[in-house]
Symmetry: C3
Subunit: 266 residues, 3 copies
């Protein structure tokens, strides 16, 4: 059997020692683990961004992978610490909505437990670093074979982010920019299935409406062209060919996006 795979997703950044501390804790408890960095560049405290990241990346991992997710502005308060099983993936993280999008897209009903069994934690638990003291060690214990039901009781009502899906009619779609990638591409939350054809106009926030050419892929338009296309994860996307759309349009995640079709074009 392959050695246990444990991934890390945090907002800890790359220069502080916190991520390395978690790696040390995991390897010390489960020496055969393979720890895999997903990202540590979630914007500080940005639960929404982390939820999108996890929903996009986690489903590609083999069933049985363990994911430790620490974007945790409420660390040390009364917020619960969670284990959740989603379509064969095992995840650990705070009860703050981090898993909202994964749960929504799950094929099977997700299972959620509250971590209460302190014997799977570090002996002393700090008020500010549960990644080190609770999530990493609990994940390592699971990797060593502790059954999930020993981690704590079922937790039937976890916190969910108030994320609205895009709302579409026959002439318009309203959604939001749910992610901006490192290229500056703007990924909306409007599913490809809701966009049967080229919208006449694309309006971001209160900016003037844009009339964007539709492309299959970036290389279909000359560099510097602002285009619309379907993202690789199946959403309506706005991109600047070989440029940075977010910077050119000054757009940030969370802004509203409105697609409109003129009746004549339907």
């Amino acid at each position: 059997m392959a050695e246990p795979l444990i991934t890390l997703t945090t907002d800890f950044g790359y220069s502080a020692p916190y991520v390395s501390v978690m790696k040390g804790v995991i390897y010390a408890l489960c020496p055969s683990a393979r720890v895999v960095d997903l990202t540590h560049a979630i914007a500080p405290q940005n639960i929404r961004q982390a939820a999108y990241f996890l929903a996009t990346a986690v489903p590609y991992f083999p069933a049985g992978t363990i994911h430790v997710c620490v974007v945790d502005p409420g660390v040390g308060t009364e917020r619960a610490a969670l284990y959740t099983q989603v379509d064969g993936q095992h995840l650990f993280g705070p009860d703050n909505g981090l898993f909202t999008l994964l749960w929504r897209q799950a094929r099977e009903p997700p299972l959620v437990r509250r971590l209460t069994e302190a014997r799977f934690w570090r002996p002393v638990v700090s008020a500010t670093f549960h990644g080190r003291d609770i999530f990493a060690p609990a994940a390592a214990h699971l990797a060593r074979g502790v059954p999930p039901e020993e981690l704590g009781p079922l937790h039937p009502h976890p916190v969910q982010l108030a994320v609205q899906p895009a709302v579409c009619t026959s002439t318009a779609c309203e959604g939001e920019i749910q992610a901006v990638d490192d290229f500056g591409n703007l990924i909306t939350n409007i599913p490809a299935a809701q966009v049967p054809q080229l919208p006449s106009l694309v309006t971001i926030g209160s900016r003037p409406p844009l009339r964007l050419p539709w492309v299959r892929t970036y290389g279909d338009a000359p560099p510097g062209t602002l285009v619309s296309l379907f993202s690789s994860d199946g959403y309506f996307e706005i991109a600047l060919v070989q440029g940075n759309a977010a910077r050119q349009l000054q757009v940030s995640p969370g802004e509203c996006v409105r697609l409109t079709w003129q009746p004549s074009s339907l």
Copy 2:
């Protein structure tokens, strides 16, 4: 036998989920793999930078290592998807010149194949993310033992970058800044063998010529001194001791560099 080693080199950055998606795809197909990050900080679409990176790093890996390289502005267009074998290293990436410098420095004739066998890809191939849909799964299949010749036919004329080697005479050398590292050191493409002694003058672009002291290593001159030396990969280099030469001189990769020797100094 050690478990298969698969490295990743991309321009995807560290905050978007794309790299993690590729890791998931690889681990799902080849659970025993060890995936190794080379870099995800290639500047967007900068094939030249990636070519230098690969030519510098790849040869140090053990023969048999598999490298997945995705800097791919032409994704989804007619550009081919490649597998290439260079001095025992296996590489996957788009046919856009990414492997130019590796091929040029190869000790044995490189072998290039076009990836055509869709049975080694994900069942649905997107127009914008071949890292996930073609390169990562093909690499994972190779790691599982699929012979390279099954991936697709030989591809005798891959795209090559129009990179000129430095041109040297007995009194001058003309080359370019081929890389700027994270310290701000300026690595030219002028090989050490072409620089028998201290040049009298170093001219970058159209800036005023510099008269730079020659050092064996950074610590041989006081902090703040602009020096010339041989880089650890064997090129003429310009550095600012304990400072950032690129920032101080405002130099970017691709700028011309001219070394001149006064006849009297020869």
Copy 3:
């Protein structure tokens, strides 16, 4: 037995090929190794920052872990190359004080050797990249079973950083900002044990004194509040709830911090 764990800590950044080169060297010599990135975002030449990083992260790793640490402004000069064993951890790096804080906090007397046995290095040693030519290969040889005593002779007087511990009286504590994490939290070097209760005033450098509320954890105060608390590694810390204290206060590592207690509050 689990495969050898070799970690990397450098100031090489994420875009240059140097870290990947070291990974290649290690895997080529020790194909069964698992190479783990700690950080490559130490500020260039910042030995003090690296010393804090290592002292914070290394002790969490399982005994027997090998750590390669390259923040090395004196590379290629007369400075020694070191192996040190600290509480069961094996470390390699330049003799410039990098291990000062690890040595000070060690439970058992650390052992230090000077790397002199060139048979464990690359055949040609450059003047500017000992990470590749000395530290990585020596670490890989140790991982393959070479006993530490073969690496070189004992080195009884390694360089130590002139880092002063915080100085505390019954009414005041003087220390410094020893680290700023990626959240912008200011971690001082004043140990929790020296701070029996809320200081009346906190003075950073020559700024006006601050009267900071004391919290157990960030979530105990509203977003935007400047607070004081104990860091997860046991030091007095100043944070801006859901914000960046370093940016708001314009504070950098190394600045003085003074805590004062009014006699009446004792």
